[in-house]
């Protein structure tokens, strides 16, 4: 019998190593800084997709408002950076120097109270995790305790995304409105804009991503992961086995929210600004497609799915901008109708068995480890 303290099966370890090789060695060596920074930006969406694998793929909870958490994380980070960029010397042209420029444009003459703590990096980092976490907890507790799930939950999260967008845009004196927070410059005095900083931030982002992958794997291989699978399958049975189904859903939703928030914070750092265009309904649904293309049950698939869709988007929209929406729309339909397990499903159904046959032609009876199998066999 296999110990259950491990966080990945052998084939998964190989997969993780391959991804690490790609992100840490291959891409940095082959891409110029501009493209690498682009990959870094895409990877921030992979955090969201990763969370969706846990909460949608495993927990069966489809949130169409993950942009909310991405945005909350991103805005927390951006608020810190913006304050640092709004030093009195940098903003001496304003009527009130020392406050962010958009506040000055909106006749705000002193820093609002809720902005004050964002002078502290420690507070900011805590806020990046806690604000979305607590927010997700409140939504989750309210909804799941009352057994709201499925499509209702999807619609309500969507409404929340819409509300937050309108709020951010409407309260521009405090949030920068539709322009967002732009011109973020330094982190504790370290300039985040030059090329070498971008490279460093890319690696920080990759490190965070692997941290999240590790946590996700840990959850998936714990009993909690199996309970999530069980819940998606027979919610009532889990309930009548003595588990509070709502608490497990809240947990999965909160983890997904925190992942998304870390992604958002990394986005603000790498791209140098944050705007409400990542909070709304459209980006939120687009993030779902990343997870779906990767395979909604595959943690690593989420990363590949995100990269794949974004590369396609960038290259498509460069050469055939008109066709991109057709492509994206078709992708949604194809992934639902024809490839419900996404890239990971294709890999485990077609590629891996052949690879295995190639590598171990004589070991009869050795079955291919299934990359998307829920919970590895127990014995």
């Amino acid at each position: 019998m296999i110990e259950n303290t491990r966080f990945a099966s052998r084939s998964e370890l190989v997969g993780i190593a391959a991804l690490a090789l790609l992100l840490v060695v291959v891409l940095p060596l082959t891409l110029d800084v501009f493209r690498l920074n682009l990959v870094g930006k895409y990877l921030t969406y992979a955090f969201v997709a990763l969370g969706l694998v846990l909460c949608w793929g495993y927990g069966g909870i489809l949130s169409l408002g993950q942009g909310v958490f991405f945005g909350l994380g991103g805005y927390c980070m951006a608020m810190f950076l913006k304050l640092e960029a709004s030093s009195p010397e940098n903003t001496k042209i304003q009527s009130t120097p020392g406050i962010p420029d958009f506040m000055d444009w909106n006749q705000i003459t002193e820093l609002p109270l809720f902005w004050q703590p964002f002078h502290s990096l420690t507070f900011t980092i805590a806020a990046i995790i806690l604000v979305p976490g607590v927010f997700a907890f409140i939504i989750g507790a309210a909804m799941f305790k009352r057994r709201v799930g499925g499509t209702y939950f999807a619609i309500i999260t969507q409404a929340i995304a819409a509300i937050l967008t309108i709020l951010i845009v409407g309260q521009q004196g405090y949030t920068g409105g539709i322009n967002g927070m732009t011109d973020l410059r330094t982190l504790k005095g370290w300039d985040i804009r030059p090329d070498h900083a971008k490279v460093v931030l890319y690696f920080v982002c990759v490190a965070c991503l692997f941290g999240c992958i590790f946590v996700a794997q840990l959850i998936r291989h714990s009993k909690l992961g199996r309970i999530l699978v069980a819940m998606r399958d027979k919610e009532d049975r889990v309930r009548f086995s003595g588990y509070s189904v709502a608490n497990f859903k809240i947990f999965a939703f909160c983890v997904a929210a925190v992942f998304a928030a870390i992604g958002g914070a990394m986005f603000a750092l790498q791209v140098g600004f944050m705007s409400p265009s990542f909070v709304g309904i459209v980006p939120s649904i687009e993030m779902v497609i990343y997870a779906a293309v990767g395979g909604r049950l595959s943690i690593l698939g989420a990363v590949y799915g995100t990269l794949l869709v974004n590369f396609a988007k960038t290259s498509f929209s460069e050469s055939f901008p008109e066709l991109w929406l057709f492509g994206l729309g078709g992708l949604f339909i194809a992934v639902v109708l024809a490839f419900p397990n996404g890239v990971a499903g294709l890999w485990s159904d077609y590629v891996q068995p052949r690879l295995v046959r190639l590598v171990t032609p004589r070991k009869a009876g050795w079955s291919a480890p299934n990359a998307v199998a829920e919970g590895a066999p127990a014995e």
């Binding site: 501009f34 930006k41 420029d101 958009f102 444009w105 006749q107 309108i166 845009v169 322009n179 011109d183």
Partner: protein, 417 residues
């Protein structure tokens, strides 16, 4: 409007452009046909300049919600580039352009701007439309020392070595119009309605200060609606109750259509009720429908119906290139100025180097502008005239007023902040 280039073949178009540009030839600076100076002398910073070619970037939204507005700018910039090339290019080099799609998404704008500057080494960028996209691109062009020509009338409060603002900033656009309508209509009270973002809010702030502090009149209401909002019945009811002398609007995008339709349906007759807009150009009327907005006043620096010689030729060339039915709004014209101003500045500086262009920009004159003579101010905005037009049912404006002199751009207006 389709995004394709229209029915005219490429070669024929070039020919037409060549003919269209001839009248301009007399206005062109002397270097236009001179022998090209060596690349090493005019390009010391590694830009994409060869002995025969110079590359510039065009960065607008070809897709997404902003494509509606930005298509005109793309067309105008391409027209200007064709004309410049037909007239011999810049420092003897043909302009080649790389077009990138900002996709109505601000980070994409920043990303593509960076690509144009870092990968393609373009000598300048004609681009952006919304304030948000400009704000996203600004740090990029400043960091990589690029040159951006930005066409839209905007809120001001900005000035950069790396940007030339070819549209008007808010005080330039608004003040003359308000003065005119106050005098013309004997207005005592104003009602502001805008979309909820920085440009309408800043513009209204300036308008309010001007009305209250300088004209000593009243603003009886100020309302903002989310972008894309389509239900204006409430605010229309308020207008009916407060009966302002002038409705002052800066509603943008699709909301306009709903707003003017509902205004008309509610029985507010724009031939009797004065309405001054700073956001509706000929482009917008296309969607609103002339019959819904006829009678409204608009305050801009350019109208397609301007009768001066430059404009007649410009409109003609534009129609030949992009089809008879295309309309030309204020921003489209401002976008057309971008490549020309850049060319004139390069030739004044005798170099493609961004630093030299930035330094040489102040004082560059373009007498051939469709809107009439313009000149770059040391603050990198344009000296320009402000005009008031009245919308007709056919979607064009009757120009009723223009300022006697060029209005000085004042992006950080004292007393208006």
């Amino acid at each position: 409007m389709s995004l394709s280039d229209g029915p005219i073949s490429d070669t024929r178009r070039r020919l037409l452009m060549g003919m269209a540009i001839l009248p301009f030839a007399g206005l062109l600076p002397r270097t236009a046909y001179a022998a090209a100076p060596p690349t090493s002398a005019v390009n010391t910073t590694g830009l994409a300049v060869t002995d025969t070619e110079v590359t510039v970037g065009i960065l607008h939204s070809a897709t997404g919600t902003m494509a509606i507005s930005e298509t005109g700018s793309i067309q105008a910039e391409k027209l200007a580039i064709e004309q410049i090339n037909a007239a011999g290019g810049v420092l003897g080099r043909k302009i080649k352009f790389i077009q990138e799609d900002g996709a109505s998404d601000w980070p994409t704008f920043a990303e593509k701007a960076k690509k144009l500057l870092v990968n393609d080494k373009v000598a300048s960028i004609m681009g952006c439309w919304t304030s948000a996209s400009r704000k996203a691109v600004l740090p990029v062009v400043e960091q990589y020392n690029g040159m951006l020509y930005y066409p839209t009338f905007y809120e001001g409060l900005e000035q950069s070595k790396n940007v030339i603002y070819t549209g008007q900033e808010a005080t330039q656009q608004i003040l003359a119009g308000i003065n005119w309508i106050t005098k013309e209509k004997g207005a005592k009270s104003f009602y502001f309605i805008g979309s909820d973002y920085i440009w309408p809010r800043t513009s209204n702030k300036i308008a309010r200060k001007h009305i209250e502090n300088f004209l000593k009149l009243k603003v009886v209401g100020e309302e903002y609606f989310p972008l894309g909002h389509t239900q204006f019945n409430s605010v229309i009811n308020k207008i009916k109750l407060t009966k302002p002398d002038v409705i002052f609007t800066d509603v943008v995008g699709g909301s306009n259509v709903a707003f003017y339709k509902q205004l008309k349906a509610a029985g507010i007759d724009l031939s009797k009720q004065a309405l001054l807009t700073i956001s509706v150009t000929e482009d917008e009327i296309d969607g609103i429908g002339g019959e819904n907005i006829a009678g409204a006043y608009a305050c801009m620096k350019y109208f397609q119906s301007l009768k001066n010689e430059n404009n007649v030729k410009f409109v003609d060339a534009f129609h030949k290139m992009w089809g008879e039915k295309t309309v030309i709004g204020d921003v489209t014209q401002a976008a057309y100025l971008g490549p020309w101003l850049w060319k004139l500045t390069v030739e004044k500086a005798g170099s493609f180097d961004v630093d030299k262009i930035a330094a040489a920009s102040a004082g560059v004159e373009f007498p051939g502008a469709p809107e009439g003579y313009v000149r770059i101010h040391p603050n990198h905005h344009l000296w320009s005239k402000t005009r008031v037009g009245r919308a007709r049912t056919d979607g064009q404006f009757d120009v009723l007023f223009e300022t006697a002199d060029l209005v000085e751009p004042d992006p950080f207006p004292k007393g208006y902040q």
